[in-house]
Point group: C2
Chain length 178, copies 2
């Protein structure tokens, strides 16, 4: 997890992506069309469900009250995850969940984000994959950088990889093997 934390902290120094910097992906496979370009092996992984939307919040009690008391959502207890440097509260939405994040300790990976976004904001989204090793292999060969190419155990006890926001339309994208 230390590598993930280090990479997340580095995000605060990332410069904006220039228009058009994302180029074609020569090694890609269009699975939806059913056509696999010659010389390219078949896809060995699939994108799954949206696991959660993570929201960094400056005040966890108020944020929890907003969803639980004002909006009537089912929310979890506050869970401290010292190894990840965050407190978490999950908000159930039926088909997926919101993950409220608040810094824990002095070197929280969301500290920098909250300094830049005092009101809080959406920190990342997490999408499930069925084979994270194959996903990273294909993504990196398609010039989508992984912040931690070697999967780490995430907050849910499952292997996760964060993709570089500069390669994903400014979105910090977490892939979780589910």
């Amino acid at each position: 997890m230390a590598a993930v934390v280090t990479f997340l902290r580095r995000l605060s120094t990332i410069t904006p992506l220039k228009k058009g910097v994302l180029q074609r992906y020569p090694t890609c496979i269009r699975t939806m069309s059913g056509a696999v370009p010659q010389g390219v092996s078949e896809r060995l992984w699939s994108l799954g469900k949206l696991n959660h939307v993570a929201i960094a919040v400056p005040n966890l009690e108020n944020a929890t009250a907003l969803y639980r008391d004002v909006m009537g959502a089912k929310v979890s207890e506050v869970t401290p995850l010292p190894e990840h440097g965050v407190y978490t509260v999950f908000v159930e939405l039926g088909n997926t969940k919101l993950e409220l994040l608040h810094p824990l300790g002095e070197k929280s990976p969301i500290e920098g984000f909250l300094k830049k976004n005092a009101a809080g904001g959406i920190h990342h989204i997490c999408i499930e994959v069925d084979n994270i090793t194959e996903a990273v292999k294909q993504l990196t060969s398609s010039h989508i950088r992984a912040l931690n190419p070697e999967p780490k155990i995430g907050a849910h006890g499952k292997p996760v990889v964060f993709l570089h926001p500069k390669d994903c339309n400014g979105v910090l994208l977490e892939l979780e093997e589910a």
Copy 2:
């Protein structure tokens, strides 16, 4: 929709929320506990599923290629919505969808967002409700401001209301009656 567009445009001038500015919500009801405080009528609306995560992108073709070709997701055709000032592409994720947004016309509501976030980024999330009129009534009485208190017809042809990000942990929250 004009009012929504105007309000969205104004978001670029919003100053960050100070820590602790969200206070208690005296008129709230804790539906999950089953206890309804005395003198408070029962909740007349419910929060539903996450309808979509909207991502503003500087290059719609590249963003679509990332999800379709690199990640193998099923994506929609590009749909121009001139009355909303955006082009949209939907990325299916099984339980919900991503909505890629790109400016259309000179007065697009996401123009300011992309000026501030050249690489793109998550613009808003949309959660379904079963009764938008009652939702807005209760939310505003709980000091959660609606950018358009009168529901407007959104991109999916259904009534929508946008909540003020300053009252929602820095998140632009769209409620859609589904």
